[in-house]
Symmetry: C2
Subunit: 185 residues, 2 copies
Amino acid sequence: MNEDLADLKGTERMTNSGYRLTPQRRHVYGILLQKKDHPTANEVFLRAKQALPDISMATVYNCLDALVQSGLVTQVNLDRGATHYCVNMEDHCHFHCDSCDGIFDVDYRSEWAKAQIPMPAGFSITHFQVALRGICSACAAHLNRSQVPRDGDPGRGENGVAIPIKIVGKEGPLGKGKSARPKQT
Amino acid sequence: MNEDLADLKGTERMTNSGYRLTPQRRHVYGILLQKKDHPTANEVFLRAKQALPDISMATVYNCLDALVQSGLVTQVNLDRGATHYCVNMEDHCHFHCDSCDGIFDVDYRSEWAKAQIPMPAGFSITHFQVALRGICSACAAHLNRSQVPRDGDPGRGENGVAIPIKIVGKEGPLGKGKSARPKQT
DNA sequence: GTCAAGATTTGGAATAATTCTAATTATAAA
DNA sequence: TTTATAATTAGAATTATTCCAAATCTTGAC
């Protein structure tokens, strides 16, 4: 199961990073492996409570930080809203759809891109992230038709899977940090 | 002066984007031009109050959003903390120093990098951002000596300028979303 | 010049995200 | 078993951001 996998993969990297692999950390890691939809800390917390009713929000933040520091998870900071977490440690970038707020993993080899960056002398890079924004194929298809209110929960794509969206008579739900644009004259 | 420049550059792009260039928006844009140090909304607010004592936080957020929507400013989301704002609209990426929290602009032509990304059919990219993390040259130099507490305010680099830092007897001040690592045995 | 409509600003409240604190529990090493 | 340290917990506090209603400002029509 995913938590077995979490056990196998997590122990070594965590203890090597100076952290203990506690039941809570194994569980949080398992949650991230189980549904790779870039959840926020709050979503992880709600999911974690199902098997660990007494887990606290502080512990979830502690677990996520430990996983990040251990190189098992990365933070994805898209806009002014809550941070998302990604458990896919293969080289890739994230695509964020401005219409449905979906987050998609996109395969991307970054070694050569890094090599092209003219870093000033003395700087050392430890992390490299590419973030894309735009409109996913599902939303593009819908926006090319008429904008009709549709049912369906906006959510986050999982490894490129298009997802149902809700269009509400204007330019989709706005991401955090994006107030409604005035009508153009 | 910078606000004159803000006036010239902002008017066209804002009205073309459906926004009015109000005195508040011009002032906020001028603040970003005046000191390109990737300030947060709160820092912009504090600076803005010096010339506009009655400006409110909601207005600052509104102004920043309008500037972003108009393509005059970009959001920089580095960690779990507050969003930063960048007024440099030339193609570049950001380097975030994990030791001093400085943010540095790094020249980087991204066109060919974009071309290398295998986007699934139907996706359209409107924004592309590269984020780097690591240790800047100044912090690397200090960390290579002994870790001695030094005075000086950590701050954000401005276009690659190294800045004084404060090392506090451990691995520098931690960024948001990074609790202290336990001592390694 | 007046009026209406819509955009924007304001002050403050509310919400959301995250961090902090102190006490307790768990774990590992001696 | 004891001790030291890491981790968890519950809840409070802080920070970041959004929302609301009223007021103000701006623009276009008349």
